[in-house]
Every structure is written in structure tokens, then in C-alpha cells.
Symmetry: C2
Subunit: 238 residues, 2 copies
């Protein structure tokens, strides 16, 4: 990790608990609108399952870039229909509100303290597929002390496209090897490494719920691994 | 100001004192390299005079976008030559260091407190021609609590091009009339108003030194005017 000046973070799953946050808001919504199925956590999983496919046409250049808020809104409608909610019965305001549940996710318990400590010695940026407004609203609510909101919107494509990783380093005025991606996902770290960034793995073994089977351990010899962000700060001497 | 959700700030001159900061570093540099003229403040004024002309070809589409660090480096060489320094005698490291003096500018005395108070009620962004790395380094050194670094680099052109103002609002997920530009410069505010943003004037009567004749008062009926950023926070009830 010598020479690393900035840490950039995957956010959904690595810094915040998307499943718990979406489930909390979905529970209330599904009850209110009399859905056939009212399990918010299951709803969160279904919605999340639409996330990668929704970005794929943008990555391939088959669709002009739209921000994640737009994709989340589109996939929400599809998931609601599958859950037995007729979206024609749902006021526009309530749909918009639920579609922005991703702005109101809670950080994992170690995240705020870990980031505060890491910030003393490193520039901290987001490197998320989430858009700037989403990241800003989340950070203000959760107290995440980012120095800069970087990521997909900046370069108008989505991870794991190389432009997202390289664009973040360039914006920070750094070479790729002066930047380290912190993520709970081996595939994200692999893409960063292919671009020349350093890599730090922080597993989140319940990101997908109690029965998670993926990303439980490091799939490569990432430069650093730590059980959470406070431990990462300790490992890096912050 | 009803409905305003975000304040975006001109930075050079409005939040930080570029003349004092550049002069401080130029004084030491000109001494070290035996310049014919060794007045750091005069050097800062000459360098600053190159700022608008350097951006103009980018605004007109005659030159591909390059970040302000690159333009500052180019104009520094020209100004040094005019000051009687042969840049061939200057180590690359010293040139680079002085060209980044803009990363190390001090905030006006009211800026940090004013921004902290305003942040309670408003999203705070930069809306500067400075690049992301410059803004991040400045903010970390000076303690400027931005929620997001927006501005020229995001849209790859320079103020007062409309894309800079409109792009910031769009990134924040807001309509232009939900965003207010805070600036010490009437022409910047006029360009923001033409894009539909609200406007707040904070005069900086010594930005250009003791004999400043421009921007001493509001040239239009800006939505708000306040003598400094703490007073602006009070005016806005923060």
C-alpha cells in the first residue's frame, strides 16, 4: 500500500446495508398498497436482482447513459407488478419516494468511524454506480465524510467498465497505483486491479441476508483484507 | 430563496483568497530563483490575468478540455519568463509545486464557519473552474465541508458556459431554481441567473488587493446579498 494517496469505495454493500434499508421501506409500502407478497427483504432481493441487467445496455453502448435513479425507478415498476401491486393504483409521489429508498440506506456499524479515521491519512472518494445526488443525500443522512463523489456518473458508464476506475484516479490527479479500491465484492476488485488500482477487501457476509454464499472470502491476493472499515483503518495505521 | 435546496459556490475569490495565497508562495519562489521582480502579489495579479484568456479556447471548442491545473502550469511558465526567471534554470519539481499553489489557498476568515452553518440546511457544492483534485486538496487543507465537488471538470468546459451551471443542478437531481450560486462576482451571478439558478452576492472587496474597483457592489437585484458567509448563514436562518 506504499504510495497510496486515495481510497475509493464501492458503496452499496460495502459501506451501507442496501438490503436492510430497502426492506424497511418496502415493508411499509407493500402493506400500504395491499401487495400479495409483503416480505420487504424478499422484495429488496428481487429489486437488486434487476440492478446488473438494467445497467448492461448502458455499458454496451446500446442505451445512452442515464443515472441509477432512473434505472431504479424503471426496475421498481417491474418488481412491483411481479409482487402483485398495480402501479396505476400508486400515487406518483409514493412511487418516487420508494424508488429513492437507495438514498436512505444505513451505513454498516463500523463505517462512519472507519471512514473518519481513514480520512486523516487518505483522500476518500465514492466509486459507486450510484449517481451524485443519491451519494450526496446518503452521505448527509448517514454522516459519511467523503472528500469527493466520483464513480459512474462522472464518466457516464457503469462499473466494471475500466473508464469508471481510471476516471476516478484521473479526477483525483493520481496514477491508478496511487488509488486503492475498497470493496466487499471480488469482481469489483478484480476490475480495479486490471486497471492498475490497488485493492482492499472488506467482506460483508450478510449483505445478501443470512444465507449468503458469495464474496465470503478473498478470491485473489488483494493488497489488504480486513473484517471491517475500523479494522482496515487499524491495518493501515490510521 | 424559498425552495432552494443546494448552495453552490464560486471558490477562487469567494471562498478563498487566491491573491494572498499565491503571493505567499511566489515571494519565496522568486527569491529562490533570483527573479528580477520579486513582488509576489504583483506576480499573483499577472498570473491571474492569464486565467480567463487561457480558458477561452476551451469554451469556444477550439481546444479539447484540459483541467485548470494544466492551464495554470502553462500560464505560470509565461508569467515567469515575463518576470525574468529562465524556467530552464528551475527544477521540474519546483515548477510543479508553484503551479499547484492554487491547491493551498487559505479561506477568508468567515468561510469555514459560514459553510459549516449553511451545511445544516443546504447541500453545499463547489461550482468552480478549478478541477476536482485541486478542490479536494484545498478542502482537506482548509477544512471546507463540501458535500460534492461540482463545476467545470464535470461537464468539460468552463464558466460562464451554461453547461457548468446546469450540469451542477442536474447532478444534484435538482431543478435550476432549487440551486443558488454564491459568488463575489457579478458576471458569474448573471450567467447563473440566465440559467435559472438563484443568486447570492458576497462581496470580497480586497480580492484583487487594496485598490480593487470591480465587484464592490451588487450589479443586479440578486436574491440575497450579505457581507460574508457567516452573515449569509444568518440571513438564511442557519
Amino acid at each position: 500500500m506504499r504510495g497510496v494517496r486515495a481510497l475509493v469505495f464501492d458503496v452499496f454493500g460495502t459501506v451501507v446495508d442496501w438490503r436492510g434499508g430497502v426492506a424497511r421501506e418496502a415493508d411499509a409500502f407493500l402493506e400500504r398498497f395491499g401487495a400479495r407478497e409483503r416480505d420487504g427483504a424478499r422484495f429488496a432481493d428481487r429489486w437488486r436482482a434487476q440492478y446488473q441487467p438494467a445497467m448492461e445496455p448502458v455499458r454496451r453502448g446500446q442505451r445512452p447513459f442515464v443515472v441509477l435513479d432512473v434505472l431504479n425507478r424503471e426496475t421498481l415498476v417491474a418488481v412491483l407488478e411481479a409482487t402483485g401491486v398495480d402501479v396505476r393504483d400508486v400515487p406518483e409521489e409514493a412511487l418516487g419516494e420508494l424508488s429513492r429508498a437507495w438514498h436512505r440506506l444505513d451505513p454498516w456499524p463500523d463505517a462512519v468511524e472507519g471512514l473518519r479515521r481513514l480520512k486523516r491519512d487518505f483522500v476518500l472518494g465514492t466509486l459507486s454506480n450510484g449517481n451524485v445526488a443519491l451519494m450526496v443525500n446518503m452521505a448527509r443522512r448517514a454522516g459519511l465524510p467523503w472528500d469527493a463523489i466520483l464513480g459512474a456518473e462522472l464518466v457516464r458508464t457503469y462499473k466494471p467498465e475500466p473508464a469508471v476506475y481510471l476516471g476516478a484516479a484521473e479526477s483525483l490527479g493520481l496514477r491508478p497505483d496511487q488509488v486503492c479500491l475498497v470493496a466487499a465484492h471480488n469482481d469489483d476488485l478484480a476490475a480495479a486491479r486490471r486497471c492498475g488500482l490497488r485493492t482492499a477487501f472488506v467482506p460483508r457476509p450478510t449483505e445478501h441476508g443470512p444465507d449468503q454464499t458469495t464474496d465470503l472470502e478473498a478470491a485473489q491476493d488483494w493488497e489488504v483484507a480486513a473484517p471491517d472499515l475500523v479494522a482496515l483503518a487499524e491495518r493501515l495505521g490510521c
